[in-house]
């Protein structure tokens, strides 16, 4: 069940220039992947093309065998009429309810589940939002800066837990943190600054798991590759 993009191009209706030009990649195995690059280069647009939210593009997107593709972002809110725990319980399928408590604990939000969403800090809000997406029946989850405003240690803990708990799922992590994507992602689609012939370059990340140790040398090499590509 690969996720393939072949020569995808897209221009927003009112825009003069295309936001995406001949973007191609192939994610052949589930795992933690990333879209990396500066703001405004088309990461979110490509994510929306993958999930079908943008339909007027050219090129080909192959998602055969992948049932549900979900896109989540860091501006989302939960309704404010009841507390976080009640919302989560209502939107998480019965089969996944057992994992809710584990995620709440790993994500460090167990103290605030009795509060309403607008009473949480931005980092807590993003973590709660991510929990409800993770516990949906989907094959691909795109996380568009879904861990913004979360401290680095907790982010690492969360990424490792996600990799452990959902090994058969595709994750596309949109982030601006080069170190993080280099360390934890399997493949990194680097969006380059405009003016370069090829808009994106696919780079192999270190794909660190819970029990893995990666050498500083390997990490530096990946980082260097990302910097050179961008």
């Amino acid at each position: 069940m690969p996720l393939i993009c072949d020569n995808v191009a897209f221009t927003y209706p009112a825009a003069e220039h295309p936001i995406l030009t001949n973007v191609s990649f192939n994610l052949s195995t589930p795992g933690f992947h990333s879209f990396f690059g500066p703001s405004g280069v088309g990461k979110t647009s490509l994510a929306k093309i993958l999930t079908g939210d943008i339909a007027e593009y050219s090129g080909k997107v192959v998602t055969d065998g992948l049932k549900h593709l979900l896109y989540s972002h860091n501006k989302e809110r939960l309704p404010g009429w009841s507390n976080v725990d009640r919302h989560l319980s209502r939107v998480i399928p019965q089969s996944m309810l057992a994992e809710k408590d584990r995620l709440v604990d790993v994500f460090g939000v167990s103290d605030c589940t009795k509060a309403r969403f607008d009473q949480l800090s931005m980092g807590q809000q993003n973590r709660v939002n991510l929990i409800r997406y993770l516990l949906q029946d989907c094959d691909v989850l795109i996380m568009d800066e879904s861990m913004a405003n979360v401290d680095e240690l907790t982010r690492e803990k969360i990424i490792l837990a996600i990799k452990d708990m959902f090994p058969r799922r595709y994750f596309i992590y949109i982030s601006h943190n080069a170190m993080e994507v280099a360390k934890f992602c399997d493949s990194i689609l680097v969006f380059r600054n405009s003016g370069k012939a090829q808009q994106t370059v696919m780079i192999q990340g270190c794909n660190m798991g819970r029990d893995d140790n990666i050498s500083t040398k390997a990490l530096d090499a990946t980082l260097l590759e990302i910097m050179n590509a961008s």
């Binding site: 999930t51 979900l70 896109y71 989540s72 972002h73 501006k75 989302e76 809110r77 939960l78 309704p79 404010g80 009429w81 939107v91 309403r116 939002n129 409800r132 997406y133 949906q136």
Partner: protein
């Protein structure tokens, strides 16, 4: 909220009476044109009971008319929120019909239905219906993307949830519109009564006008003003209570 509203009304009303008195005494107008304060007090004592009952009668019609129009506005607004042919048709029709002065239709209603309760109720409901409908349509047609996105992509969105989200997110605006529409309902009822009805404070004002009795009209204005002020304040308090219960703030 309630004392503030009543206090505000008292200030405006007595400033208005003060203005009339300044005009009366500076232009040496007779008591027949603008009655003296003592005459007004005398009229108030004489007519207080009858005018109070008439005001309550009008207020009752206005409240029933407002409740009906708010219910109707929500039903039509919820149907009209969709970007379907029916939704667009309802929106365009609402914008066009609201531009037509309802008061101009009042004589037709009186001819067809007589000068009783139903006609007054219909005029009250129609006058406050369109402003509420346009607000509800505007609120219900505007997606709250940052909340609704999750429910849409996970296939959980139902029309009831959509309406609940949009109502919750615009609660302050909705309660303000509903409280504001109370004035419209009252105005509609009074205008209806003034044109042709056989009861209510609008009818009493019409009689006073025929008698050229400004004192009675000023007493009627006082009772109308104080009743609307109290009713609006009660609606605002109800809005605050609903908001507090629902949002926990």
């Amino acid at each position: 909220m309630l004392p503030k509203r009543v206090f505000q009304f008292f200030i405006i009303y007595f400033l208005f009476i003060g203005g009339l008195m300044i005009m009366k005494y500076s232009l040496h107008l007779s008591d027949y044109v603008i009655p003296a304060p003592s005459d007004m007090l005398h009229t108030m004592v004489a007519e207080y009971r009858q005018y109070s009952l008439a005001t309550i009668n009008t207020m009752t019609v206005a409240i029933i008319g407002q409740v009906l129009s708010v219910i109707m506005a929500f039903v039509i607004g919820i149907i009209g929120r969709q970007s379907t042919w029916l939704g667009s048709f309802i929106k365009v029709a609402a914008y066009n019909i609201q531009a037509y002065p309802i008061v101009a239709l009042a004589p037709i209603l009186f001819i067809l239905l007589g000068d009783g309760f139903i006609t007054r109720l219909l005029i009250a409901a129609m006058i406050c219906y369109f402003p509420v409908l346009l607000s509800v349509l505007g609120i219900m047609s505007k997606p709250i993307d940052d909340i609704e996105h999750f429910y849409r992509v996970t296939g959980r969105m139902r029309w009831q949830l959509e309406v609940k989200i949009r109502t919750f997110e615009n609660l302050t605006q909705l309660t303000t519109v509903i409280a504001g529409s109370a004035t419209l309902a009252m105005a509609g009822t009074i205008v209806g009564e003034f044109i042709a009805a056989n009861a209510g404070i609008g009818y009493s004002i019409r009689i006073a006008l025929y008698q050229s009795d400004l004192g009675k009209i000023l007493i009627a204005l006082f009772l109308i003003g104080i009743t609307i002020a109290v009713y609006q304040a009660l609606l605002e308090l109800l809005g605050v209570a609903i908001k507090r219960t629902w949002t926990g703030k």
